[in-house]
Symmetry: C2
Subunit: 345 residues, 2 copies
DNA sequence: CTGAAAGCGCTTACAG
DNA sequence: CTGAAAGCGCTTACAG
């Protein structure tokens, strides 16, 4: 005999009362409750989660699906751990636990998610690395699993998501460079399949056109979101017939590779070429010249994600009257030295 | 009615047979099995995990505990995701899932682990960020939960662990620097509470003494394992009365901050000061001068961790006859330009 | 080869 | 305020 039965026997009361005492139900004698709590602490009793889940129909766990292989603007080091803190601070209010579910590289993300959802290992899901067409969203909608997506998708119709303000960043970067006299502005971004690649480049195009600058597809350099991709971007940029005077990077760590390639070619970052990165990154502060980029609070993003998710869950919705929503997450410009020079002066 | 009951009804057979068919038990008519598998696929049936766990007494999940706040040599970006791939490749053989359990920053890691263990959310645990005295290890030993630790500890007596070869790295770094004529070699490391800080500095001391160089506590610079810590280390190094000609960093990303601080002071990394970092890191390749460091396969480390863990689990031990063990994980020197100069020539 | 039944550890109406 | 009992969804001896 073990578990709650053993504890009840030890206290010489019924398991029902033990359960009610432990779960903070009313209608339990305060004296009894104290005895139960003390005994549980002493014997190290904590209710078996499978038993609870089976009976209650909920796991009290929220899943955060991670795809290590995907290249996204998030795939930087501290991103997920930063968001995790904010998520947990909200989930803790409701005694919900966060579990990170890493999709194996050799497994299809859709199949993986389907399996996790069918097995009911979590009550709700947070997904990211959204594709422009993302079957996972249709799956979650159809299975009626509460979820929130970090990243938009054209799949699934109306569903809760939060996405970074790629439009704002692209627009603000272009505006800033144009104000400094740049007219030939390149951009380094991953393929259009990744939703953010599509949105970012599209916003860049529109921002240029607003300034009366013709969009030139040759200035869109498609590379991987990595240091290596940055190096490659530098390489391709140097091969262009008509050289741009500025470049916008969709992924901040590209700057490391780009700087390297430029220096090899005798081009000085921040002097012969203006560079603006995306998200502020601890490493970026130590680049020379320091990188102009955009700042956001990962923790606050985590909080927003959690609150949006809980708003879609019947059991918690009343605490979040704003309801499910779509949020464009703002980023703030952090001026560096990488684009400090001006072509007009 | 739902779940296996519904599926059985749909097929007009008993739930027992459905279960046996789905779980690949023998003594099921092949024709029946095919029908069951087809129907399950069609209806998207996957067994509810709580039901299975409760009945079987196992969750078929392995937990990887993460502490985002801890400063360790692992706390670099890609570390956990790299290890995860190797872990999963082994766990997949046994249809075990990996779940990452992030300990909230405001929760005591010991209490968090205790809760997860008591609730039986996983069958076994992988822990890391080991402290010299680590109550978690005593807890796991006492609770008889299979586990493996990434990192040694003086707690818990004899238990399965894998640790990076800090001795080897420290020794090899010192040997290399001494061979190039250095006698005043500094080291930047976190506090001795973190087990690796202790081991690393101790090995460094012994390596020096082997070369007849007196250990000088002033040359041990205690800083955080971060870029900022590297900056700080550079700062403190510059304040020393008698300047070292070389420095060993326990955390590779310190190099970013260190380079910056040195350049600010007109000291040229790799020319006025030799620098050796710890683990090879994608970003490091783009440092100028490139950082001499040590390479390891994160994936292979994950494989080793998983196999060591499974060897301690009765249900899987027979597949891993080598048994539970302690492994010192080797790293291979990757020469860079940061320590290329020689004092002797 | 298949079915009927027990029971894993819990929580929760229900009765008292 | 407490106890006895049902039942969450499964798997697995057991009987046939």
């Amino acid at each position: 005999m073990k578990g709650i039965r053993q504890l009840a026997k030890h206290l010489d009361i019924s398991i029902g009362t033990v359960s009610r005492a432990l779960n903070g139900k009313p209608d339990v004698n305060e004296e009894t409750r104290k005895r139960v709590l003390a005994a549980a602490e002493e014997l190290g009793y904590v209710a078996n989660q499978s038993g609870r889940s089976l009976r209650q129909g909920t796991t009290n766990a929220i899943g955060l699906m991670i795809e290590s292989s995907k290249e996204t603007v998030e795939n930087s080091d501290d991103f997920f751990l930063g968001v995790t803190g904010g998520l947990q601070s909200v989930l803790a209010r409701h005694k919900l636990d966060l579990v990170m579910l890493p999709c194996p590289n050799d497994e299809d993300p859709y199949e993986y998610l389907k399996r996790m959802v069918a097995r009911r290992v979590v009550d709700a899901m947070i997904i990211s690395a959204t594709q422009r067409i993302d079957k996972r969203i249709d799956l979650l909608v159809k299975a009626k699993i509460p979820f929130v997506s970090l990243g938009r998708s054209s799949s699934g119709g109306n569903y809760p998501w939060i996405d970074l303000d790629f439009e704002g960043v692209a627009t603000s970067a272009v505006d800033r460079l144009v104000a400094k006299g740049h007219r030939k502005i390149a951009i380094a971004a991953p393929s259009n399949d990744i939703n953010l690649g599509y949105i970012f480049v599209d916003s860049y195009r529109r921002a240029l056109e607003r300034h009366g600058i013709k969009y030139d597809p040759n200035l869109v350099i498609r590379v991987k979101s990595s240091e290596q991709g940055g190096y490659q971007a530098g390489h391709e940029l140097l091969l262009l017939d008509s050289k741009p005077t500025a470049i916008i990077l969709i992924y901040e760590l590209m700057a490391f590779g780009l700087y390297r390639r430029l220096v090899e070619a005798g081009v000085i970052p921040g002097r012969n070429l203006a560079i603006i990165g995306f998200r502020e990154e601890p490493r970026g502060r130590f680049l020379q010249p320091s990188l102009t980029c955009f700042r956001m609070s990962l923790r606050d993003l985590g909080v927003e994600l959690a609150e949006t998710l809980l708003a879609t869950m019947p059991a918690y919705a009343e605490s979040y009257p704003e309801g499910a929503r779509n949020t464009i997450w703002p980023l703030e410009l952090v001026p560096g030295e990488s684009d400090a020079f001006s072509l007009t002066s």
